[in-house]
């Protein structure tokens, strides 16, 4: 008889891997759903039959789709993501540096956004229904109502052009000092923080409010504890699991928000790489980027569930 936590964890991880496999099939199928074929749509209607035949052979379109899918997946598992159609470069090499840049950006945003969101959530709960709560809710609601790219340009307009506090374009290159890098990514990080802060703070607030309705909170209140003590000692530890879940879901969201923000600030990351190659109809690059984004997204969602399982005290002591 294995421990229930181990059983739950293996189940969840197996499910995650299965989902990832299915997602890779979806990404592959998503580029095959055209009535014609990929070669035709890349080259356009005016392509010569020879050019079409060449491209078909290069893409391996003469084989059945199933066979191509497994070959693609097998190569991807070995770290070989193929070569880009547009410039013949190895995708894995081109992607490596950009993935690092994107993770740097997302990490900076997460380091600022997570503690701020939790703190604001706690304050909103402490002053529930009064002006600090309403102010925080109102501000976060307005940042959620504007798309990411517009937030980016508003920030650029105010903070880079009107007040020259940050550079307007986040060009980043090798050999740049760490602090120099931080200053350059200031604006994109700010925008990403604003984008996830709203969701994260609202969900944290809801999670703690949910716990606040428990009987043991009423007991703590009747004992005469101060409101902040109640929240910090009794409510917060019990709200950790839902909050971790919220944080992970929003980090997954961050991965997507990064795509748009990178384009706005011309930041050499994964998102820009993907968008550029969608416009050029470079299918192998798009598939590879999609696979990486989906892996990160599914991975973070899985991690959220794993932490929730580990943080649940009821599962720690099996009967």
């Amino acid at each position: 008889m294995t421990h229930p936590i181990v059983r739950l964890l293996t189940q969840r991880i197996a499910l995650g891997l299965l989902l990832l496999l299915a997602a890779s099939a979806m990404i592959f199928a998503g580029t095959q759903i055209l009535p014609g074929d990929v070669a035709q749509s890349i080259l356009g209607q005016s392509a010569t039959p020879e050019a079409l035949a060449n491209l078909r052979a290069e893409l391996g379109l003469n084989e059945p789709a199933i066979q191509r899918y497994f070959r693609w997946l097998g190569a991807a598992l070995h770290g070989d993501l193929g070569t880009a159609l547009t410039n013949g470069q190895d995708i894995a090499t081109a992607m490596g540096k950009r993935l690092g840049n994107t993770l740097f950006l997302a990490t900076c945003a997460a380091v600022i956004a997570v503690p701020t969101a939790i703190l604001l959530g706690l304050i909103a709960v402490r002053y529930e229904g009064r002006w600090p709560d309403k102010l925080i809710s109102g501000l976060t609601l307005s940042t959620v109502s504007v798309p990411e790219f517009l937030l980016g340009y508003i920030a650029m307009f105010l903070l880079a052009v009107k007040v020259a506090a940050f550079p307007s374009v986040a060009t980043i290159y090798e050999g740049m000092g760490f602090f120099e890098k931080l200053r350059v990514v200031g604006l994109p990080v700010l925008v990403l923080v604003l984008v996830v802060l709203g969701h994260m703070m609202r969900m944290t607030r809801a999670a703690i409010l949910n716990v606040m309705q428990s009987a043991y909170i009423e007991t703590a209140e009747l004992k005469g504890l101060r409101p902040f003590q109640i929240i910090a000692r009794h409510a917060f530890p019990n709200a950790i699991a839902p909050i971790v879940n919220v944080v992970m879901l929003n980090l997954a969201y961050l991965v997507v928000g990064v795509v748009v923000v990178e384009v706005v600030f011309i930041y050499p990351g994964m998102g820009q790489y993907l968008v550029d190659h969608v416009a050029k109809r470079d299918v192998p690059v798009v598939q590879a980027c999609g696979l990486v984004f989906a892996t990160v997204y599914i991975g973070l969602n899985m991690l959220a569930d794993v932490i929730a399982i580990l943080a649940n005290p009821r599962l720690r002591h099996p009967k």
């Binding site: 989902l19 299915a22 504007v146 517009l150 880079a160 706005v264 968008v275 989906a294």
Partner: protein, 272 residues
């Protein structure tokens, strides 16, 4: 009939204004959508109320025509997502068994990939035209409507009146349209507002990335893309859509909130 609260009235008013200008864009806009009428990035004046854009077109006219494109695509995509999503959701709830399993797991799978990324993958091989955009956005978003309508319908499907209809020998389609749909309508309508906003943000983002509405047609995301270079010189033309999108989003939200509140008060509604 209860009174409509002030916030909902404001929301209804602004939503109405936006749809009105969208429908009658041709009559309201002072200039044509692609007419070059002035210099590059002229400031706001009595002749050009919002100034001109990156190649000297009247920005206000572009915004009005752009609103039409954005609202048209968002509305069509929302309708598509609601029709497919709720029909499949109701079917899954009423039929149950392996049909339900198949549909639900399929939806889980589509939702495992971020919507924007999936849309980009599909658009890399599809021709970027308005019907394709509506189709891609609507079908991807149908997954969320499916989850909601299935959850709502599962609760209704076990009620006595549904059971009675089944025992009477009514067909499945009849049960869905005459028993489930009327009872599930209110939460769906509230959700529709939120989905509509999401669609506006989605199409704006795609257009901004250059993968949505193609020039010379105007839309809000495209206007940002066309005028973004002006930002560095302190020209705020690219920010005009921000105001439009934010006010539309907030007013539709206000209406959706009201519908939702009304629904919940109806549910518990015998005594209040």
């Amino acid at each position: 009939m209860t009174r409509i609260p002030l916030s909902a009235l404001i929301g209804l008013f602004f939503t109405g204004v936006y749809f009105f200008t969208a429908v009658f864009a041709g009559l309201i806009a002072p200039y044509g959508v692609a007419d070059i009428v002035g210099g590059v990035w002229e400031p706001a004046s009595s002749q050009f109320l919002l100034g001109t854009d990156s190649i000297g077109r009247d920005l206000l006219s572009r915004m009005i025509y752009g609103g039409r494109t954005t609202i048209l695509i968002a509305t069509a995509a929302t309708l598509l997502s609601f029709v497919t999503g709720s029909l499949l959701g109701f079917t899954a709830a009423v039929v149950g068994g392996w049909v339900d399993q198949l549909l639900s797991r399929g939806v889980d799978l589509v939702m495992a990939i971020p919507t924007l990324i999936f849309a980009l993958i599909v658009l890399s091989v599809m021709p970027v035209s308005i019907p394709v955009l509506i189709l891609v956005m609507g079908l991807l978003d149908a997954t969320r409507v499916f989850r909601l309508s299935r959850a709502v319908a599962v609760d209704i499907a076990v009620m006595d009146f549904v059971e009675a209809a089944r025992l009477r020998g009514e067909a499945r389609g009849w049960v869905i349209f005459h028993e489930i749909l009327p009872n599930a309508l209110s939460p769906l309508v509230a959700e529709m507002g939120l989905r509509f906003i999401f669609m506006v943000l989605f199409i704006s983002t795609l257009s901004f990335l250059g993968l949505g509405v193609q020039p010379p047609l105007a839309d809000w995301g495209g206007i940002v893309k066309e005028n973004k270079d002006g930002i560095v010189y302190g020209v705020g033309a690219a920010l005009a859509p921000a105001v439009a999108i934010a006010t539309l989003a907030i007013s539709v939200n206000l209406v959706a909130d009201w519908v939702l509140n009304r629904t919940t008060s109806l549910k518990g509604g015998r005594n209040g």
